[in-house]
Symmetry: D2
Subunit: 356 residues, 4 copies
C-alpha cells in the first residue's frame, strides 16, 4: 500500500457524468484520496467548461476541464466512476476496454432480472451479458465478490440504508421478510441536479410530501436482495416502500416497521446487529434509546442503526440513517474501489460528519 | 347570525397562555374573526409586555397587553382559549366561572381514563370531575356534542390527522384496527416555543430524526378514539406510532400503513372517504394518485387525505396532511368555538393556504 | 360599497399568466376578496389543466381551469391582472379592449424612458404609447393617479421596499440622494417558478450569495423614482444596489446605508417617517431599536420600517421589510385595484402575517 | 515533519469549552489531524458525559469523555484550544502553565485597548498583562508573530472575512478607510449553541433580520485592525457594520461597499488582491464576475473574495465568504496551531467544501 499511495503510482480515475451530484461528490472524495488521481471528467452538456463553472466549490483544485464522453481517452484511466442517468450508462460501459475497472453509481446494473429491469426502467436492458458479470456493491455484504469484480453496481441510496438494516435480520430469520413496511425519507439531492419543479427551493422547502408511493424503483432492488438473503425467488417477496421528500439537501433515514418472528425480542435484534456490525468501519450501532439522525452522518460514509420496541406486541421498529450522496452513492463507490484495488477499505473516507 | 357578527354583540374571547405558538395562532385567527373580540391575553412570564414584543408580527393590531392569569377579569370573556402547557391547565379551568365556555388546546382533558392520564403525563389528574364533562373536540366526528359543550378538549395535532384518516376506516371495518402502523412527521413548531437544544435552527435544520419512538403521548389518545370507534376497551388497542422531526416550521403528515380487512380493496377505502368527507368543509379527499403535501394546507384549517395501493397484497397506505398549528390546534379550536356559539362552522377560517 | 360587495355586482377579474408565483398569489388573495370574482385564468403552457394540478394548494375552491391567452373572453372581465414575464405583456395589454382596467405586475410599464427600457430589458418597447398612460403603482405615493388610472404598472418587489423607505427622506432633503447604498436580500420566490439551477433547493438552500451586483434591473427603476422625487433627471441619479439570494421562500429586506444631509439627525428621520406613515394602513414604523424582520410581514401586505444610528458620523441605516409576493407584487396589485374601482383600499388584504 | 506526524510524537491537544459549536468543530478537525492527538475535553455543564451524548455525530471516534475545567490535567497537553464564552476565558488562561501554548477562539484577547474591551464587553479585563502578549491570529497578515506566539487570539468570524477583504485595500491606500460600509450576513451557528428564542428553528427559519445594527462587538475589532493597517489611532476609525441573521446553519458573507481613493479603479483592486493572495493556500480570488457564495466554502478553511464595479462612480463592492465555524473560528485556530508548532500550515485542513 505504501507504493500505491506514492505519487508515481496513483490509480488513475475518470468520472463519467461528472456534472451530477454523485459525480461532484465523487470528485470531492477522490481529489483528497491519497491513492487516486483524477484524470478526466466527462459531462456532455458541460464539455469545455472548467470545474469552477460547473461546481464552483471545487474550483481551485486543479481538476481537469469537463469533456464529452466521446473525447475521453480511456487509456488515461485505471478505473471509471459512472454517474450518468440510468439507461445511458449501459452502452457506454459495454464499450469500455476490458482492462478498465468500473464503479457504476447509476441504476443500470443493479437489477439482475432483465424482465424486472425492463418493467421498472421502461426499456429492455442493452447489455445483459455485462449485467451477468456485475457485482452488487453493498460492500458490507459482498466484500469478496467486490474485491474480485471488474464491474460493481453500487446500490441505490435507499436500498443501501434499508439492506444494511434489514439483511442481518431477515437472513437470521429474526423478522418476517413478507411483512416489511419501510417508510423512507430523503433529502432533495436524492432527486438529482436536473431541473424539476418539485425540487425548486420554493416548492420543496418548508414542506413534506410522499412520492412514488409503492411505485419506487428501489422497491424491486430491495426485494431482490431480501429474496437472495432468504433463498426465495425475488418475485415472491414484496415490500412496502413509501419514500418522502424532506426539506434538507442531504441525508436519508429509513424507518422499518417489522414483525418479529415468533420468540424473537428486540434485544435479540440488538445482539444480532452488534455481532454483525462489530467490525464494520462504516456502520455504527447506536446505544439503546439513541435516535438515529441524519446529522450524525452528513458528509461521511457512515450508517447509523438502532432498533426500538413497538407498542404493538410482536413488532419492532428498525431505523437507519446515511448520507445519500456518500454511503448512499459516491462514498460507497470509493469504498468499493478501494477493495477492487486492494487498498485499505477506508482510504479517503475518513472524514468525520459535518455538524451543524 | 347577523346579530352575532354585528359590532355590538361580538363574542368576548380571552386567551390564556398567549405566548406559546398555539396562543399566537389563536390570536392571528381571532383578530380577523368577524364575530369575536379579543379581550385579554395572559402569559405569566410576559405579563406587562405589549404583543409587539412577544410576537412582533402581531404588533399594530391594537391587541391588549399580556397580563398574568391572576389579573384576568373573567367577566370580560364569554369564552376562553387555553394554550397553556399540559398540567397547569387543569386547575385554572376548574376555577373558572361556570358560565364561561372553554376551548382547551392543551392535553389536559383529552385522555378520559385517569390512570392512563397519570401514566403518560406523570401526575394524577387534578380535575377528574371536570374531565368527565369534557367533549373531545375532533369536530368532524363529534359535532353535536361539541355544539352542546361547555368544555371542549381539542385533540392533539397528530391525533387530529390520524383520526380524520383512520376513523372512517376502522369504524366501517375496512382495516384491521389492531395492526395500525402510523409513521408521522411534524414541523418544528410542534415542539413549542420553549427553549430546547434540539429545536435550535442549527440542530433541527438540514436534518431529520425520529423521536419518542413508540412512546409518544399521542399514541394513547389515538388508541382511545380508535377503541371508541370499534367498541373496544382502550387498553386493548395498541398502535404503532413513530413521529419524526422535519426541518420545516409548520405542517404535519401522517403515513398510515394499514392492513385491509378481508375482501376490502383500496377503491372501497376511497369510496368510504368520499362518502364521509363529501360535506366536510375542511377535509379534502384528493384525486387518485395525488400526493398529500403539507404545503397544500399551510396556514389553513384544511386536512388533505388520500389512499394508495401497497405492494404487499392486503395492505394499503393512507396519508393525511394538516397544518399542526391550525387544524392541529388553534384552527380546530376556533372551529369548535363556532359550533359552541351557534355560528357558521367556517367563520374566520376561510383563509386559503399560503404557498409558497 | 355595500352594493359593490353584494353577490350580483362583483368585479370580474381575469388573471393573465396565472401559473407563476405572482399569479398564484393573486388567486389566493382574490378568491377571498369580498368584491371580486375570478372569471378566468390564463397560462399558455398549462392550458386545459385544473388549478389543482398547477397549484395543488388552490384546488377545491372552484376556480376555473387554465386557458390560453387566445381563449380568454375579455368581455368576462372588468379588470385584468397580468403576471406574465416581462416582454410578453406589452402586446397583450395593447390589444385589450379599452374599457378593461389593467393591473400589470410585470416589469413592462415601470420604466418611463424607452431607451432605458431597451438598455435594461434587451429589446425596444413595443407599446410606447400605452407606456405613456401607465401609472406607477407605488400606492402610498401615487394614490390619486392610481385611482384614475386605466393601466397601473406595479413596482418591482425591491423598488417597493426601497422607495417606501427612501422617498420620504430624499423628497424632504434628509439624506443625500447621490450616495444611496442599498444592500438588498430576497427570498427565492423572487426568482419565479421557472426552472433554474440556482433556485433548486439543493443549490439555494443552506447558503447565501449576491447576484446581479450593480446590474439589477430594479436599479434604474429606483433611480427613476428617486429622480422624480428630487426633481432631477433620472440619468443623473445612480444608486448602489446589491441584491442577495437568501434561503427562504418569501420575504425581502433592504438595508439602506445613507448619508445624512448636513444638520440632519436620526431622530429627524424617525419623525419624518412617523409623520409620513401615520395614516398608512400598510406601512408600520417600528419603535426605536425594533428590528425589522421578514417574519413580521409574511403573507401580509405590510411593510415595516425602521432607522438606526450608524457608527460613522453623518450616516444612518434605514431598513425595510416586505413580503415580496404580497406588498412586493400581488398584494400591492390588489391594493391598486381597490383604488381603481373606488373600493376601500384595504379590502381583501386584511390578513395578519403568518408566523412562524 | 515526518517525525511530528508519527504516532509517538503527536502534539497533545486539550479543548477547553468543547460543548459549544467552535469546540465541536475543533474536535472534528483535530480528530483527523495527522499530527495531533486530543487528550482531554472540558465542558463544565456536561462533565462526565461521553462525546456521543453531547455531539452524537462525533461518537464512535474514541474521544475522551467531557470533564470539568478543574479536572483537566494540563500536563497532558502541549496546546489548549479555548472555546469558552468570552469573559470566562481570561482567568483560566492566566492560570495555565507557561509552557502550554494557547489558541483562544473566544473574544477575550482580541481587543488590545483595555478601555475599549471594558466598553464593549461590559467588565474590566482581568488579565491585561497576558493581553499584551497575545498575538492577533489573522494568519494571513500575521504569520511571523503567530509562529512565535505562546497565546494567539483568533479573530472573530466577521472580522476574519472583513479584514481578509479590506486590509489589502486600506493598507495600499486603494479605498477610503473612513467610509467603509460593511453589510454582513451570517448563518445561525454564529449565535452559538446556547438556548435563545431567536435562534429556534421556527424563529430563525424562513426569515431574515438585521441585529445589533451598528452596535456589534466585531466593529471595534475591525476598527482596531484597520487603524493598525493605516497607522491611525483605533478610536479615529469608525466603520459601518450591520450584521444580519440568515436562515442557514453555517456560512458568512460580507458585502463591503467602499469608496475608491482618487484615481483607483476596480481593476487596481483586482490586481492588488491577486498579488496579495497568489500564494495564500486558503484565500481564493475569484474570476471577474464570479459571485462569492457561502456554499463555495462550507466545511472548509477557505475564503473566497471578489470585487465588483458599483453604479455610483467612485465606489466599488467587495465581497467575501467564509465558513464561520472553520476559517471564522476553529479552522483558523488549527491553521495558527500549525504555525506555532512549525507544521505545514495546511495540515489537517485539506478538506474540500461540502456541497450541496
Amino acid at each position: 500500500m505504501n507504493n500505491m499511495t506514492s505519487q508515481t503510482k496513483k490509480i488513475k480515475a475518470g468520472i463519467v457524468g461528472a456534472s451530477g451530484y454523485t459525480g461532484a461528490e465523487a470528485m470531492r472524495l477522490l481529489l483528497r484520496h491519497p491513492a487516486v488521481e483524477i484524470t478526466f471528467l466527462t459531462a456532455d452538456r458541460k464539455a469545455g467548461q472548467p470545474v469552477s463553472e460547473v461546481y464552483p466549490h471545487l474550483g481551485g483544485y486543479g481538476l481537469p476541464d469537463m469533456i464529452s464522453v466521446s473525447e475521453a481517452d480511456w487509456s488515461e484511466a485505471d478505473v471509471v466512476f459512472c454517474g450518468l442517468p440510468h439507461g445511458t450508462t449501459q452502452e457506454i460501459i459495454a464499450s469500455l476496454p476490458e482492462r478498465l475497472k468500473v464503479v457504476d453509481m447509476s441504476a443500470d446494473f443493479r437489477i439482475e432480472d432483465p424482465d424486472t429491469y425492463a418493467e421498472w426502467y421502461g426499456h429492455e436492458h442493452r447489455a445483459t451479458d455485462l449485467q451477468k458479470t456485475a457485482v452488487y456493491g453493498l460492500t458490507e455484504f459482498n466484500r469478496d465478490a467486490v474485491s474480485q469484480a471488474r464491474l460493481v453496481a453500487c446500490p441505490g441510496c435507499y436500498p443501501t440504508a434499508v439492506l444494511l438494516a434489514l439483511l442481518p435480520l431477515v437472513s437470521n430469520k429474526l423478522v418476517d421478510p413478507y411483512d416489511l413496511v419501510i417508510d423512507a425519507k430523503s433529502g432533495v439531492t436524492g432527486a438529482g441536479r436536473g431541473l424539476k419543479q418539485n425540487t425548486l427551493f420554493s416548492e420543496a422547502g418548508e414542506g413534506l410530501s410522499p412520492y412514488s408511493v409503492a411505485k419506487h424503483r428501489h422497491a424491486p432492488e430491495i426485494e431482490q436482495e431480501v429474496a437472495k438473503a432468504i433463498g426465495a425467488i425475488a418475485s415472491d417477496v414484496r415490500v412496502n416502500f413509501v419514500p418522502h421528500l424532506v426539506p434538507m439537501s442531504r441525508g436519508e433515514l429509513i424507518t422499518a416497521h417489522v414483525r418479529l418472528e415468533s420468540g424473537v425480542s428486540v434485544s435479540n435484534i440488538r445482539s444480532a446487529f452488534e455481532t454483525r456490525f462489530a467490525e464494520e468501519p462504516f456502520v455504527r450501532m447506536l446505544q439503546a434509546g439513541e435516535m438515529p439522525h441524519t446529522q450524525m452522518v452528513r458528509g461521511s460514509n457512515l450508517c447509523v442503526v438502532n432498533v426500538f420496541e413497538d407498542r404493538i406486541p410482536g413488532r419492532a421498529v428498525v431505523i437507519a440513517a446515511i448520507d445519500n450522496l456518500v454511503k448512499g452513492s459516491s462514498g460507497q463507490a470509493v469504498q468499493n474501489m478501494n477493495l477492487m484495488f486492494g487498498l485499505e477499505e477506508t482510504l479517503g473516507l475518513e472524514q468525520a460528519p459535518l455538524f451543524p
